[in-house]
């Protein structure tokens, strides 16, 4: 059966086009002047420039991590451009009508609802922030959101309009020296989204950021900061794509979630960066640090569907600081062809009676390698803490790999930790049952894989769940015969 799997291998990445806009792009290279340029370009206050320069010092002294189960040639950080923006953004557009139509068409092609009218017509109840290379190009529904007191804007703008919030929380969840890529991000971050939900407010709509890498030889280093004040609630979605290019491009983002007492953040990601071609050429290196701090009675839920990127290195984590805090991680990671993924989560239980749930579904096809890496730590203070982990791997064909690296540390005798793991294949019996009922093999595999991921998909907001199902289908194309 494997030869037949191979025979059909071809990749079909629908978001792989390039947008022809005139861009202002820094030449490759990284030094203090580059950081000053970025900071100056955004008219940042002195404290932020200092903060960046400090991070740069930290980064220079750090080593690139090599413990992940991924292999790629060493990255030359001097061969990457750290800033690229469409020229038309120089005089920042004040509304969508002023945004370069070529940019708007890009998002239209990607099926992203940018025009508020289209959204209002019932396509989806979502406010969007759009990040194109290093800048945010549009944020929709700001007025409607501000009526509820919700702040949703590019982080570069929040630095000016809400410096007290940015200063207080940026770097509070992921410190500059946290890891190599986080430190790099702190030094050169370009843009990203900022969200603040005031006390007791239930955000009236889904918030969403769409990240797009367009320019060649550029890295994307966005930062997202979401603060849910006491008793508030927000659901946030994130999507990403990039053009098909032969070279590898770096994406090193930082996402920080602050979930104050009794608040809840639901954070969903559909990551579809260009995965490289069927020979393993090109694709995005996706090295991302995502972390949440949950205070008393707070709840944070990460749901991710990872189908893109040549190499993924990503562990959305929860620090369950307050008593009764809840952390959840639902993940589908699919690798095909030569993709590599090392992804999972960290659940750090500090408060009493904190609870965490981890449901991870890894699917490997082609010649790909897919690893789950997860840490569950019960601190000495975590009386009555509980964790449940379920970690399932599905193999398609016999040239791919699935790996599981669970780390469990329990320092409180009353803590309960459960770990279940399974590895299965799309079996010949299942395929034959489907075919004998008239279903063609491609549809059969996608149905079986979707069934495997069901527990995770049901955590996604409706529109995203449909998109995720379709995405799996496209990503799996060519994995069977």
């Amino acid at each position: 059966m494997t030869e037949e799997f191979d025979q059909y291998i071809k990749s079909d990445y629908e978001a792989g086009f390039v947008t022809d806009v005139e861009s202002e792009t820094l030449p490759p290279g990284l030094n203090e002047d580059v950081i000053r340029f970025i900071s100056n370009k955004k008219g940042e206050p002195e404290w932020l420039l200092e903060w960046r320069l400090k991070a740069f010092q930290v980064w220079k002294e750090m080593e690139e991590p090599e413990w992940a189960h991924v292999h790629y040639p060493k990255i030359d950080f001097q061969d990457i451009s750290y800033y690229s923006a469409p020229k038309s953004m120089d005089d920042k557009p004040q509304s969508l009508d002023e945004v370069d139509p070529e940019l708007l068409r890009t998002y239209e092609k990607l099926g992203i609802p940018l025009h508020e009218q289209a959204v209002l017509a019932g396509v989806a109840n979502v406010a969007m922030d759009i990040v194109f290379d290093s800048v945010s190009v549009a944020t929709t529904f700001r007025e409607k959101l501000s009526e509820a007191g919700v702040i949703f804007m590019p982080i570069s703008e929040a630095v000016h309009k809400h410096p007290e919030l940015v200063k207080k929380y940026m770097g509070s969840v992921v410190p500059q020296k946290d890891n190599y890529y986080a430190a790099l991000n702190c030094a050169v971050f370009s843009d990203g989204s900022f969200v603040y939900i005031p006390k007791g407010v239930r955000c009236p709509m889904e918030l969403s950021t769409y990240f797009r890498i367009n320019e060649e030889k550029t890295g994307q280093f966005e930062r997202t900061l979401i603060i849910a004040d006491e008793g508030s609630h927000v659901s946030y979605l994130e999507g990403c794509t990039a053009p098909m290019r032969d070279e590898n491009q770096l994406h090193a983002a930082v996402v920080e979630l602050v979930v104050l007492d009794d608040a809840e953040i639901k954070y969903s990601t559909v990551q579809n960066w260009y995965p490289g071609d069927s020979e393993g050429k090109g694709g995005i290196y996706n090295f991302v640090t995502k972390r949440a701090v949950a205070h008393k009675n707070a709840k944070v839920s990460w749901t991710q569907v990872e189908t893109g990127s040549a190499v993924t290195w990503k562990y959305p984590s929860c620090i369950l600081k307050g008593d009764n805090a809840i952390g959840e991680f639902y993940s589908v990671a699919l690798t095909n062809n030569y993709q590599q993924a090392d992804t999972g989560t960290k659940m750090i239980h500090i408060g009493k009676n904190t609870k965490s749930t981890i449901i991870s579904k890894g699917i490997s096809a082609g010649k790909s390698q897919n690893a789950y890496r997860g840490l569950v730590r019960m601190n000495p203070s975590a009386e009555g803490a509980r964790n449940f982990t379920q970690c399932d791997s599905l193999l398609i064909g016999d040239k791919c790999g699935a790996h599981t690296f669970p780390y469990i540390e329990s320092k409180h005798p009353s803590a309960i930790i459960e770990h279940e793991a399974t590895t299965s294949t799309v079996s010949e019996d299942q395929m034959f049952l489907c075919q004998q009922r008239g279903i063609d093999p491609e549809k059969a595999v996608s149905m079986i894989v979707n069934g495997f991921c069901k527990e995770v998909f049901k955590e996604l907001p409706m529109e995203f769940a449909v998109e995720a199902g379709k995405l799996l289908e496209v990503s799996l194309e060519g994995s069977v015969g």
Binding site: C434, G438, G451
Partner: protein
């Protein structure tokens, strides 16, 4: 309906079918009986086009078409249905979703429009009732956690929905208690039609008390060694298979 001439097939380099001939006309029920290892299940798998079964000689024509050149899904769409001896589980894929995909595929092949979800749900519920399965089974994963009897009834329900031309029941009676056997047999009997034929593969005569065949064939060592009417099954029940094998030799 189905014409099998001198069919030879092997599995993993081992010859299993060694020149098998059967002629099935519309509306007929043929029972295939035989000792273990005679090639009974292989026949169903070869006819339905399963991977790993290599046809080395002979011809099979189904409704005038050479099906040996078709993929498994194509044969299914042409109206060939195999009820499995051990139906496999597909976790997380709801029975309803699976059935809809299946019926849609078959209908589209016939040039018919896909059924809308509500009409389909209504129809599926009806068929559930006919085989005495609770409607909840439509929501559950395909065969996921079903008992042996429930799995078999689920197979018959699929058959009812797909309305095939030729149904091959592969040891459908294995692992069934007498009540479940009756439900399954009633399901099959309700589908009897002048334009639909059945091949009932079984080890025991018991099933044939409920699904009464027009012809009984004895399969031994990859060939039909004896054919007769329904009374042949009773004779086999009484004397075992040994005497025929000896007779054949």
């Amino acid at each position: 309906m189905l014409s099998i001439k001198n069919l030879q097939a092997k599995v993993e380099e081992k010859d299993i079918l060694k020149g098998l001939n059967i002629e099935v006309k519309p509306g007929e029920i043929h029972a295939i009986m035989g000792p273990n290892g005679a090639g009974k299940s292989t026949l169903g798998n070869v006819l339905s086009g399963r991977d790993g079964y290599t046809v080395t000689g002979g011809e099979v024509s189904f409704l005038g078409k050479n099906i040996l050149e078709m993929d498994a899904e194509e044969r299914a769409r042409e109206g060939l249905f195999l009820a499995f001896q051990y139906p496999v589980e597909i976790p997380g894929v709801s029975n309803l979703e699976f059935l809809k995909a299946s019926v849609d595929a078959v209908r589209s092949h016939r040039g018919e429009e896909a059924m809308d979800s509500m009409t389909f749900l209504k129809l599926a519920r009806e068929k559930c009732k006919a085989v005495n399965l609770d409607q909840n089974f439509l929501k559950r994963g395909v065969n996921e956690g079903f008992s042996g009897g429930e799995k078999k009834r689920n197979e018959i329900m699929q058959m009812m929905l797909l309305e095939p031309k030729l149904c091959i029941l592969d040891e459908t009676d294995s692992g069934l208690d007498i009540d479940a056997l009756q439900v399954v047999a009633e399901g099959v009997n309700s589908q009897r039609d002048p334009n639909r034929s059945f091949i009932v593969v079984t080890h025991y005569q018991r099933l044939l008390d409920y699904i009464v065949p027009d012809f009984v064939h004895v399969l031994a060592d990859g060939k039909i060694v004896k054919s007769g009417g329904k009374e042949l099954a009773l004779e086999l029940e009484e004397k075992g298979y040994g005497w025929i094998e000896n007779e054949g030799a």
